[in-house]
Amino acid sequence: MDKLKQIDSILKKAAADMHFNDAIQSSDWDAIEHKLKKRRRRIIVLWSFIALMFTTSIVTLIVNQDSLTDELGYNEASYENINNERENSVAQNIEAPSKTKLTNKSNDFEKNYKIPLVKSNNQKITVTKEDKKIVNNDYNELIININSKSVNTFNQALPEIKLEKIFLERNPITKKSNNPESFVKRWEYGIAFTPSISSKFTQKNSTLSGLINRNYNQYIGKQEKSSFASNFGFNLSYHINSKLFISSGLYLTQRAEYLNYKYTITDFPIVTNGEITDYGPLNPLAYVDVNHIGSNLYHFIEIPLNFGIKQPISSNFEIRAQFGVSFLSLTKLNGKKGNYLNLQLEDLSDLKFNKHNIATTVKTGLYYNKPRFNVGLEPSYSININSLNNAKTSALKTRPYAYGVNLITNIKIFKNE
């Protein structure tokens, strides 16, 4: 058998002598470049989405932080809550050092740091929310931070002021929303419209991939591009609490593709045992010219079920994010499509597609909130989970998707109405 090792060198030499410069065309590079551009676009979309989610999270965090501080406004720390022993020690500390110095200091505070220091017969200090830097409302550790200076009320005793009560005043302007009703359980119903760009992911169905014509990709696959589509319908949502809601509705949804076919069928596939084994030349008189430009539309009735979170960011605006699944029932098809086996143009209605489909949707955006209604603008992305083509009969798996901006307006219905 060793004798045959020289076959290796024959092979190597032959491989080195083979040149395929003629087989490489500029269209090959164009196809690669197209793929790379598509990838770049996908990355940009992905990163934009991540950035949006990140921004949303940060804003939510900041707003939540403020909400926590606001909540302090409703607490009181008073002497009454401190036991007698501690009260005595506080009193001792308070009644400590120099009068003049401390008086100046307290004046400084009022003047420079704008702490509303209210003295009522030297009995009371009121610290309002304007100070905003209280880190702990437990009297024992009460520290007031002003411009990075820390004043511990024990150590910086104010002798002429007998502290009887320190409390944080309820501040009426700290409430973030002018719509108190937005914090209660309620229904919202309205209409939504989403202009979108629709495209699709196509894969070969491994069990039938042998039936795909060698020219399919070049003549048909690469000539099918994204197109405009839309989604319009009735929205219904239930707001469980101030943060969560569930939404559904009934929509007329489209998925679309743009076609630009221009080719001539010069041969036909020879299929043996469910696989193309060869191609036979057509009689030139039987050549078929396919010239077709247009958009294919797939119409669905969509029933979504989305789970959402919301976060007020100002008195009138809130951010909402939703994620969920939809049931899509294929109702109508418009257009023509090239057959993957013989490349012939066929009417969409003659092809087999799955009638019942499932899609997943994610959307997040800004809502303008008024007491009785709201208006929202949210980028959305939806993709079919299952293949639109029938897996038993088609050599291709197609998952359409659409991305667009959802424009929505809702009327609020409150529970007590």
Partner: protein
């Protein structure tokens, strides 16, 4: 630029792992896409074309495994006869085209091992890993492949 410089060489690799030019072109495009999107992982431990060749081979093997015949439609050669085992090696003065054509006519399992071992310089260990077979199988396929190719070349000559 990587494409201009190595496209011809990579096309030769693709042609060896695919049955027809269309499939090879598909592989060429997918391979370059893969190369260009993973260029950062090239450490410079080998020549860039060697690294690219490995990517093209892996891609061809993966696609053959996952999407049954995405790039090629091979059938096991059941017509192979004992008489084809001829141990007398063919002379080296044979046209490259004929050699490659004969190689392409071999059943896939032999052709792939011959390609990987004899032309692309992979070891039996590497071949075994990539094909999911034992090193012994790789060796026996190589041996059988050589015999079959030798027989075919003799007939063609």
């Amino acid at each position: 630029m990587l494409f201009e410089k190595y496209a011809s060489k990579m096309m030769a690799v693709c042609m060896r792992y695919c049955k027809n030019q269309e499939d090879a072109k598909d592989l060429l495009q997918d391979g370059y896409y893969k190369v260009l999107t993973s260029i950062k992982s090239f450490k410079g431990n080998s020549k860039i074309d060697t690294w690219m060749t490995r990517i093209f081979i892996n891609l061809a093997l993966n696609r053959n495994r996952i999407g049954r015949n995405k790039y090629s439609h091979f059938e096991f050669d059941t017509k192979f006869e004992k008489a084809d085992f001829d141990e007398e090696p063919v002379s080296e003065d044979i046209e490259a085209k004929i050699v490659i054509k004969a190689l392409n006519e071999l059943p896939e399992i032999y052709k792939t091992v011959l390609n990987m071992y004899a032309i692309d310089g992979l070891t039996h260990k590497e071949i075994a890993e990539r094909l999911g077979i034992s090193e012994g199988s790789s060796k026996s396929r190589l041996s059988r492949g050589r015999s079959m190719l030798n027989a075919k070349l003799k007939r063609k000559k």
